[in-house]
């Protein structure tokens, strides 16, 4: 197991390096001139050339990469072209907001999803189980923006219980903060809720048929004890590790949710960077989001290996 962890940890710098290469490549290898795209349709060739010179595009590619890499390693992601602010500052501002969304969404998904999954496993084959499967499939089939718009329609426009858009930090005002966060969080959580529910169900089903469960029952233990101590506990492990995956994937959902509900977090930053063709922010986001996602998965894998001694390396 130590072997496994070491191998995975060794992969981390390599993967980070590849990520940095990728963030560079994606800008310079895709068809289209970033400078021209930045300036828009009506730019003259002179303006484009000037911008290219300014941004250092005329230097040979490997020189550009070398400079970029050096910058990144020192923690300097450059300055946003549109906002004229160091990207690091922008990121520092946006991350907490997305973090709130991600945490709340994960909590919602787990608290609602897992119990339902467990219950469906216990009542396997019944009508409830069937409904459960159809329900989870439908939750997985709703695009985030459809859910977001419909929630907004019902709760903000028609009922006027919750604000239509905007963000208030829960640290500043807990009640208003929560009110501004609940709908965006709900929108992102539908897919993970369904996923966790299904995972919980299949994990429970797998554990339920193990021999040690039969043994526990034949020892005369109360059914309750059997369910909780002997089925649920081991079944919870894969579910706990998929929570990590869920957290990571929520990052993608925030792009849409934050744009619809105008929450100024990482997701909206991504959208704005795309809108304004601010490739410097894009590069930084690729590195940041990529490494976060990768690290979370790494930690989850290590955690799983730690808990389940049967896993060595694939």
């Amino acid at each position: 197991m130590g072997n496994f962890i070491i191998r995975r940890l060794l992969m981390l710098p390599i993967s980070l390096f590849l990520l940095i290469v990728f963030s560079f490549a994606i800008i310079h290898v895709t068809p289209g001139d970033p400078a021209a795209i930045l300036l828009g349709e009506f730019a003259t060739q002179d303006q484009i050339n000037e911008l290219r010179e300014e941004l250092g595009f005329n230097k040979p590619l490997h020189v550009q990469f070398y400079e970029w890499f050096g910058q990144v390693v020192q923690g300097n992601f450059g300055q946003s072209l549109i906002m004229k602010e160091p990207v690091v500052d922008i990121l520092a501002r946006c991350i907490p907001r997305t973090a709130w969304l991600a945490v709340i969404a994960t909590l919602i998904s787990a608290i609602i999803g897992i119990p339902f999954g467990v219950y469906a496993a216990l009542k396997r084959g019944s009508l409830l189980d069937r409904i459960f499967m159809v329900l989870t499939t439908s939750f997985m089939s709703i695009p985030i923006f459809v859910l977001a718009l419909n929630l907004m329609l019902i709760f903000s426009v028609q009922l006027e219980w919750l604000p239509v858009a905007g963000y208030v930090s829960p640290l500043v005002d807990p009640v208003e903060g929560l009110k501004s966060l609940i709908l965006p969080s709900l929108s992102i959580s539908s897919m993970s809720m369904a996923y966790l529910a299904r995972m919980a169900r299949s994990s429970m089903l797998e554990t339920m048929h193990q021999e040690y469960v039969t043994t526990a029952r034949s020892k005369g233990l109360a059914e309750n004890v059997v369910i909780w101590k002997h089925i649920f506990r081991p079944a919870a492990i894969p579910v706990a590790t998929s929570l990590g995956m869920v957290l990571g994937s929520l990052l993608g959902g925030t792009i849409i949710s934050e744009t619809v509900f105008v929450v100024p977090g990482i997701g909206k930053l991504m959208y704005d960077a795309v809108l304004w063709r601010d490739y410097i922010i894009l590069q930084a986001l690729i590195i940041f989001v990529g490494s976060t996602y990768y690290t979370i998965n790494l930690l989850v894998d290590i955690l799983y290996a730690y808990i389940n001694p049967q896993i060595s390396y694939e």
């Binding site: 994606i26 895709t30 089939s141 695009p143 923006f145 959902g253 960077a273 690729i286 990768y294």
Partner: protein, 285 residues
């Protein structure tokens, strides 16, 4: 005809879903004939009208019939989805299968795949579209790139499983070349999982395409697509809430049918399929 029976017996809901999928594809193919009105025809007098006998889903901001736009949008979304799935499946399968041939190649390729997968799907697709400019083809390319690693991973996992089996060893002992092993032994076993996977990937791609269109990264106006109709609808929620209903419902029903059909396929082919499941959170970001 026997296959209908078998489908119906395996999973009734899945069969109904399959019918709906065929129906949607037909609607897309025959959009010109089926649409009650011209989706591009604007009329200031008739704008933002609620559903009526003449306009079953009402009209949008420019007076265009929403139902016709949704019907025509089917075409675009299906086309993008189909091409993206085709591209990513073919390339992903080739990558996944070929990496079985050499340990080093396998490690290198799978590491690259891991890096590509460390970015949420929509995120990567959006970045690509940003750099290439929004258009139908950009979206197709972007989505293909995003889903290649996911397919490659699954194919590779399955292929390695099979490679380690005794019958492949036997084939090699007899002197079978690598290509033969791939084609005769590995691919046929990978195939069922691949087919089921394609269905789920299609569902995910449709979700991704509509999301991208919604964000404005898809085919530009005035071409209708399920996503960009909803994007316009967003701004008129108070005056015209019905605008969000039609495209949203259609997207939901179609994706759901794909997922249900995928479940049916999986049950029919091998109920114990591991690793292949409905629209996973990882892919569907």
């Amino acid at each position: 005809m026997k296959i209908w029976r078998r489908m119906w017996r395996t999973n009734k809901i899945g069969t109904i879903a399959f019918v709906y999928i065929i129906f949607t594809i037909l609607v897309g193919l025959f959009a010109n004939v089926l649409a009650p009105a011209d989706p591009y025809k604007m009329s200031v007098m008739k704008n933002l009208k609620p559903p009526s006998l003449k306009h079953w889903s009402g009209t949008d901001r420019y007076g265009r019939d929403v139902l016709s736009r949704v019907i025509h949008g089917t075409r675009l979304t299906l086309k993008v989805g189909f091409l993206a799935v085709l591209g990513s499946t073919v390339i992903g399968t080739i990558l996944g299968l070929s990496s079985v041939l050499s340990r080093i190649l396998n490690t290198v390729l799978m590491r690259l795949v891991d890096v590509l997968m460390s970015l949420p799907g929509i995120f990567l697709a959006l970045a690509l579209v940003a750099l290439m400019g929004p258009s139908e083809w950009t979206v197709i390319v972007a989505l293909t790139v995003v889903y290649i690693p996911r397919t490659a991973r699954i194919v590779n996992g399955r292929a390695i499983e099979i490679y380690e089996t005794t019958f492949v060893d036997a084939a090699r002992a007899v002197g079978a070349g690598y290509l033969r092993i791939l084609l005769r032994h590995i691919f046929p076993s990978v195939f069922p999982a691949l087919i089921v996977q394609i269905t789920f990937v299609f569902a995910t791609v449709i979700l991704a395409e509509t999301s991208l269109s919604f964000l404005g990264a898809g085919a530009p106006q005035p071409a209708p697509s399920w996503g960009n109709i909803m994007s316009e609808a967003k701004d008129y929620m108070r005056q015209a809430p019905w605008l969000t209903v039609a495209p949203g419902t259609v997207i939901f029903l179609f994706v759901m049918s794909l997922n249900l059909f995928g479940d049916l396929l999986r049950e029919m082919l091998d109920p114990k399929m591991r690793g292949v499941q409905a629209v996973t959170t990882r892919a569907a970001e």
